[in-house]
């Protein structure tokens, strides 16, 4: 049975009435067009026509027609069941009317990067740990920054609204075929973390996109607002998206070496070298908001250094002191507002560049190297990640490899949107400035 036939069978079996054709725009937002089941054949044949402006983040000039080509492997029936027939989804690539990949489609970009290395049998696997806050929705339905487990409301009862919601999220994700590796309450009040099991990076990117949508939907059904904002509260930890990476050829983990005291191969070291070499440009894609950079203010556990370590919590890459089981490295700098397709494409491109050009990483940072505030600042100056969105965009501008990977269409539009965001931020006088400067100057 072909994948298309399986989709048809499942549509019948679950009495699906509506199919949502989903795709991710350049900024990483999941969009969708619903079609009725009668239009399934037209949809499967990739004949649903759409407007390119939606992919590019806003409506503007030069709108073009694009076609949505569903990937049948992504078919899932949504577990919340309305009485009047089920709803399913298919994740789509965008094609031009001539059947070529649409240059603004980030999923096609990732597939292109993957297939470049797949020819040599190499594939990147990744698992993710995603943090987010659950806030109360106000009486008017607007989100607040009041966290569920501090609000007086829950004092009434031992049943925790947030824990309930998170359990529901995990169950929903599993019903949708997304395997959850872990789930727990995080450091800050109201902060939660859910871990997704390792998968090939295209599947993981699809899962991350779906994950955010599921978490938001379930939270809303519990009267809560789920926020993936990297740093929503001044004095609490921010939310990150940790990625556990391992590189494979067939059944062989290329990061593993039994000869090495850390259990880490030269390939792994070069991959780390490549990631650190391209750290600035990669950061523009893994930390795409102005707010993202508030996670990188030097402090005890913010991952602000373009460096690697097995003990320090300040480096963007963490490797276990001794690999146990499958060797993997952990990228700690990304946050959950990423476009997962572009971020993973950049990570694979940077890491593979390290391997191809044998870029040795700088010496590993060992414990005690950064303890006091002054030392942290010193290190941040020497080898810190970009301190602002503007600095990250500059780094991306100067990185030909990552720019070429994105392609002109995505790069230009991404830069345009992000520069505009930065300018809008600068054109507002923020309360902190008034408090700090008004009296003294």
């Amino acid at each position: 049975m072909t994948e298309f036939e399986q989709v048809r069978e499942l549509v019948k079996e679950y009495h699906v009435k509506f199919i949502r054709l989903q795709f991710t725009d350049i900024l990483g937002a999941l969009k969708n067009v619903a079609v009725t089941v009668e239009e399934l054949e037209r949809a499967l044949a990739g004949q649903v026509l759409f407007d390119s402006a939606v992919f590019e983040g806003f409506r503007g000039y030069c709108e073009k027609d694009i076609l949505l080509q569903p990937d049948p492997a992504t078919f899932v029936v949504f577990p919340w069941r309305p009485r009047d027939g089920a709803v399913a989804r298919l994740i789509c690539n965008a094609l031009t009317p001539r059947g070529e990949a649409f240059p603004g489609c980030s999923r096609s970009r990732l597939q292109k990067v993957i297939s470049r290395f797949e020819k040599d049998g190499i594939r990147l696997m990744a698992g993710a740990e995603i943090e987010f806050f659950l806030f109360h929705s106000g009486e008017q339905g607007r989100p607040t920054t009041i966290t569920h487990d501090q609000a007086g409301f829950c004092d009434l009862t031992p049943v925790d609204l947030g824990e309930n919601a998170r359990r529901d999220m995990v169950l929903t994700l599993e019903e949708m075929g997304i395997e959850v590796a872990s789930s727990h309450h995080e450091m800050a009040p109201g902060q939660h973390e859910i871990g997704l099991k390792d998968d090939n990076i295209l599947v993981l990117a699809d899962k991350i996109a779906t994950f955010k949508f599921v978490v938001r939907t379930v939270a809303q059904r519990h009267g809560l607002h789920a926020s993936f904002m990297p740093k929503p509260l001044n004095n609490e930890a921010g939310s990150g998206l940790k990625l556990h990476l391992s590189l494979w050829r067939g059944e062989t983990n290329l990061f593993e070496s039994s000869d090495d005291p850390m259990g880490l191969s030269d390939t792994a070291r070069y991959f780390i070298g490549g990631l650190l070499h391209h750290a600035g440009a990669v950061t523009a894609l893994t930390c795409p908001l102005i707010n993202s950079y508030k996670r990188f203010v030097p402090s005890y556990h913010s991952p602000f250094l373009a460096a690697w370590s097995s003990t320090s919590r300040n480096t963007m890459i963490r490797v276990p002191e001794k690999q146990v089981g499958d060797a993997r490295i952990t990228l700690r700098s990304p946050d959950p507002t990423v476009n997962p397709y572009l971020a993973l494409a950049a990570i694979l491109t940077a890491g593979m560049d390290g391997i191809t050009n044998r870029i040795a990483p700088p010496p590993i940072i060992t414990d005690g190297e950064c303890s006091s505030g002054d030392e942290l600042r010193e290190l941040a100056r020497e080898r810190g990640l970009p301190r602002s969105l503007a600095a990250a965009l500059d780094a991306l501008e100067g990185d030909t490899l990552i720019k070429e990977m994105l392609g002109k269409a995505i790069y230009n539009r991404f830069r345009e949107i992000k520069e505009n965001e930065w300018e809008r931020f600068l054109s507002v006088v923020h309360p902190w400035e008034l408090e700090e400067y008004l009296r003294n100057y």
């Binding site: 009486e139 049943v159 609204l161």
Partner: protein
């Protein structure tokens, strides 16, 4: 004394909320939560797990219809809606949302109490039937799987139908796992050949 039914009331206007609460209390219901908007009501229902929800159609933040849809999708409790009108569109939406009753204001004791009682009894009947359907579906599925596994055993080991059944049954008892699990293992093993 029979267990008191626990109720959450979500009505925006204070006077009618208190009024309905008083009528229910007089009829031996226990009011465990009151809300003036849909979101607070949803949170209360999630946390307090009432036996019955009474909600006004027009509520700020989240409408009573949306609230009823979520509460009935997630099988939390039966919802009785209250509204000042009963136009066709709202009634249709109330049906789709899975409401168990619909009252038009002004609500008097004579309509409130019977509606609520009937909603409670219909709801427990629906819950019972849903469980039964699930059970039957599972039995049917198990039978299909065991049939298939029997077929495989008859074909590969040359057994009669009764012998194949006994083999599965015996294995199930020896290993202390369900016949369905044994059958699934047989099918899986067969598909690997």
């Amino acid at each position: 004394m029979p267990r008191q039914h626990r109720v959450v009331i979500a009505i925006n206007d204070d006077a009618s909320r208190k009024n309905i609460g008083a009528m229910l209390q007089a009829a031996e219901f226990l009011i465990i939560g009151e809300a003036t908007d849909g979101i607070t009501a949803l949170k209360l229902i999630r946390v307090r797990q009432p036996d019955l929800v009474i909600a006004e159609v027009f509520l700020p933040a989240m409408s009573g219809l949306e609230l009823a849809r979520i509460v009935s999708d997630d099988k939390l409790a039966p919802v009785v809606l209250i509204s000042s009108n009963y136009d066709h569109a709202t009634l249709e939406e109330a049906k789709l949302a899975g409401a168990f009753g619909y009252l038009v204001k002004p609500v008097g004791e004579a309509s409130l109490i019977p509606t609520v009682e009937i909603a409670l009894s219909n709801y427990s009947e629906v819950v019972r039937l849903e469980e039964q359907v699930k059970e039957l579906q599972e039995k049917l599925e198990t039978r299909k799987i065991v049939e298939k596994a029997k077929g495989i055993l008859m074909h590969t080991l040359g057994l009669t139908e009764a012998e194949a059944f006994r083999k599965i049954q015996k294995q199930s008892m020896n290993k202390r796992i369900s016949m369905r699990a044994v059958a699934e293992a047989i099918i899986l093993a067969h598909s690997l050949d």
